[in-house]
Each structure stands twice: as C-alpha cells, then as structure tokens.
Symmetry: C2
C-alpha cells in the first residue's frame, strides 16, 4: 500500500472508529440521561439494554469485524489468526444481539405488550437469525480446516454479500427502532425537544458509521494482499488458508472463482480478458 | 456471458422486477384499500401520494436505473444511449421523490403538523438532497461530453458508491416511514390486524427488492463489457464514451483507474499484479 493510500485508509478508519464510538456513547447518554437508566427487572430499565447492546454489538463490533482484514498492520499476521479475530468479534456481536432480544421480550412480557408485531421486530429478528446462520456457516466452512476449497470458493461471495446485507439491514432496523421508541416514549417528539434532536443525531451517526464501513470495505486497493505462498492453480494446492484472501471483501474478484471452478479453460480465457480490460482502463 | 450465467442473471432480474412491481402494487392497495385513497386536497388523501411516489420512483425506478447497464441485450447499444436511459430513469425518480415531499409538506401544513422533526424526515430529506446532487454531478460529468477523462475516472467510484448508498438509505427511510405511519394511523397495530400484516409484508418486499438489486449490481461477471474500440491507454484517446464502462458498477475495478492516473508505471505494475492474483485465485 502506497503511503498516500495508507494515510487515506487511516483517516477513514479513525473516522469510522470515532463515529462508531460516539454512537455507543450517545446511546448510553440517551438511556442514562434522557431515559430511565439501565437495570434487569422487567421495567423500562431492562428494555434500555436493547438499544445499548444492539448499537454496541450489532452495529459497532459487527462493523469492525467487517473491516478487520483490511488493517494493513495485520497483513503480516496469519490468515488463521485474522479469521479467528473476525469470528471472535462476530461471536461477541451475536451474543450481545441475542441478550438484547431477551431484554426486549422480558420487558414486553412483564408489561403485557405483544411481541413481534412491528416491522422493526420482523426485520430485526430476520437479521438476527440470518446472522446466526452466517456465523455457523463461517465457522464450519471457513474457520475449521475441513471444508474443501471448492466449497469455500463457492460460498465466499455469498458470505461477503450476506455479511454486508445483514449489516445494512441492522442499521435500517436500528433507525426503525429509534423511530418507534421516540414516538412511544416522547409525546413531545413533534416539537423536537432536546431528546428528539439528540436521538435523531444518534440515528445520523449510525448511518454515517455504516457509510464509512461500506466505503472502507469496497475499496479494492485496501484489500488484504494474497498469501505469497498460496498455490491455488493446483486443485490440491497446499495452502488452503490462502483461498479467501483473494476473494474476501472484494466484490470485483469474488465471483470469478466460483464460475472458474466449473471450467478452467473458460477461467483462463476470462483472466486474459480481465487483464485486457485492466490494460484498457488505464489512461 | 455464458448461457448458465445468462440464465442466472435473467432469473434474478425477473425476481427483482416481480418483487419491485409487487411493492408498488402493495403500496397502492395499502393506500386505496386500507387507507383513505388518493387525492390532492391537503387531507390524508394527499399524504397518501407520499408512499406511492416514493416506492414507485425512489425505490423501484431507482433500483432499475442502478442495474440498467447490466442488461445483456443492451450491450450492443451505444454507451451514450445507455447513459441517457440511466439519467432519464433517475430524473423521473427524482421528480417523483420531489412531488412526494410536496405532498407530505402540504398535508402537514394543512393539518398544522410540524415538519422535519422525525428521524425519518431528517434521513429522507438528506437522501433527496444527495440524490439531486448526484443527478447533477452525473449529468455534467458523465453525460455531457466536456468533462476530462481524468475527472470522470476520479469521480466514477464516488458516483457508484453514492448511488448505492442513497438507494440503501432510501430503503431504510421507507422502513422508518412505514413504521411511523402504522403507529400514528393504526391504533390496533400491536394486535397485528390485517393492515399491519399487509404493511409489514410490504416492508419486507422492499427490503428483498433492495437485496436483489445489490446482488445483481455487485456480481462482476454481469458487468457491461468494455467498448471494443476504446483506446484508454492513450491520455488523449479518441473514445471518451468508453471510460466508464470499465468502471461503472464494479467495486473491484473502480478505484484502480483513479490511482493509475497518477502513475502510469505503477499502473502497469498493478495490472500485472492483478493478473497474477487472477491466476492464483483460479483453482
């Protein structure tokens, strides 16, 4: 990575961390200062764990997990270590997301409020279920060493797409959740009291955090480089850890490997075409 | 495009069109059957144009505009024609989005409801403003013939990213809007009456439409091929229309051109690296 690109990456990474951290702080200030505080007693204090845990785990930690392969100072670390960190962060996020659901179901049941009627709840529960499936798939196919390379190559584009889709859906769900809570709990919302301004700003912060993570993860020049010793042209090549590094988090290269599995001759031809396209796009 | 890839593309395109069309139909059924109907008189009938125009223009037509370069039967058409269609669809979507705002402001003013207090309104107005800027930038830089290739190459990754970010933000805003309207207008929402189930389903349809558009537009193998006669290695090459075709809608190749402008030697080296990566990712 050239120095200029490195500085750009660092600036965006620091911005993302700052905005993500601010989102968590804003959520805490919201529930501690404007709302009833935190507790685990079936009252609104228990409900308040719901936004805190979602924004901490399902937004901030998930966002960091998405870009963890892109940190240049980790490129010397083994792929297995980085995958373990990616899986570990996502496991923490999933646990926090599940506890956040327990908090809201407990609160609803104690207050005799029906569960699962709102669009927020439908989309949110779908996101949590997809996230758990994504985590299990990632664990068995990409972290454990037994899945064949062909299966990994087939599933990697779906894994990358699903991860980003779940992240985007979670952010949309958080914005719906803020909307719901403000309408239910802040009767003066339409006169825009300080809590309304503050919580709307929290919503914007979370949206900006998502925008920064999406920008960072879709820049091809900030992708983790391939392992130098991976030999992927050989079907039984000796470096299974290297296969994802050529595909993870890069829409442009992801699917090629999939179709290439079916027809190596077509694949070689396509690589030549890709090279020609690369030459032609140079000015 | 191989026949198998073509069939996969067609299946996804038909699904996207179907789900997008269903979303528009569901919105119409919602306002005509469950709500008060349509009109332009400052009452709820005028408000109801808001969801109809947003889902038709800002979701469905914008979604189609995003994938229009990917339709294989248009690859024989000139790039200028396709850009005009892309710009035309986006112009229609922007006009519908603006009329949808007029409808809701008119309704609020007639009913003495404050404007611009909700998170939905903050995010939604931001999306409309960004969309208009995006449209103007696209018109002056990419459609009119006068912008230098270097400027086009610099702005294309931002144009692609912004377009997808705006589309995702619009969908999140629609989900917030449905949430707001259901809480305000359907006191029995929590007992999940038919209108609640129907409108929650509409929200899911819009989310699935977004998911399909995002999948279609991020598959590198479904990208419009480069113009065969473009000569982009020459800084004053005679085919300015071809420059975007190598970059549009492909995260993987987009940013390369930008940095390559600064250093052609580095660019050539990178193309070789890209080719090697392509070879290595083949199994």
């Amino acid at each position: 990575m050239a120095m200029e690109g490195y500085r750009g990456f660092l600036a965006l990474l620091v911005s993302a961390l700052l905005v993500g951290f601010l989102s968590v702080i804003f959520t805490l200030i919201w529930v501690l200062h404007y709302r009833e505080g935190l507790g685990w007693d079936g009252t609104a204090l228990e409900f308040n764990w719901h936004p805190v845990l979602v924004v901490t785990g399902f937004v901030f930690i998930l966002g960091i997990a998405i870009i963890v392969y892109r940190l240049p100072w980790t490129w010397k670390c083994s792929k297995l270590l980085m995958k373990s960190i990616h899986a570990g962060l996502n496991t923490v996020a999933a646990i926090l997301a599940i506890i956040s659901l327990v908090a809201v179901f407990d609160f609803h049941n104690a207050k005799k409020i029906p569960n699962m009627y709102s669009l927020h709840s439908w989309v949110g529960l779908t996101a949590v279920i997809l996230y758990i499936l994504q985590l299990l798939l990632g664990f068995f196919v990409f972290l454990l060493p037994w899945a064949p390379l062909s299966l990994r190559a087939l599933l990697m584009p779906i894994h990358v797409y699903s991860g980003l889709f779940i992240f985007g859906t979670v952010i949309a769900t958080v914005l719906m959740g803020l909307t719901e809570k403000l309408i239910f709990a802040l009767p003066s919302y339409s006169s825009l009291p300080p809590e309304g301004v503050f919580t709307n700003t929290l919503g914007l912060l979370i949206l900006v955090f998502g925008a920064l993570i999406f920008w960072i993860v879709t820049r091809p020049q900030w992708k983790r480089p391939k392992e130098p010793n991976s030999v992927l042209l050989q079907p039984n090549g000796g470096a299974p850890e290297g296969v994802e590094s050529s595909m993870a988090m890069n829409f442009g290269n992801v699917d090629k490997s999939d179709s290439e599995l079916n027809n190596e001759a077509a694949a070689r031809k396509r690589n030549i075409t890709l090279d020609e396209a690369g030459q032609r796009s140079t000015m």
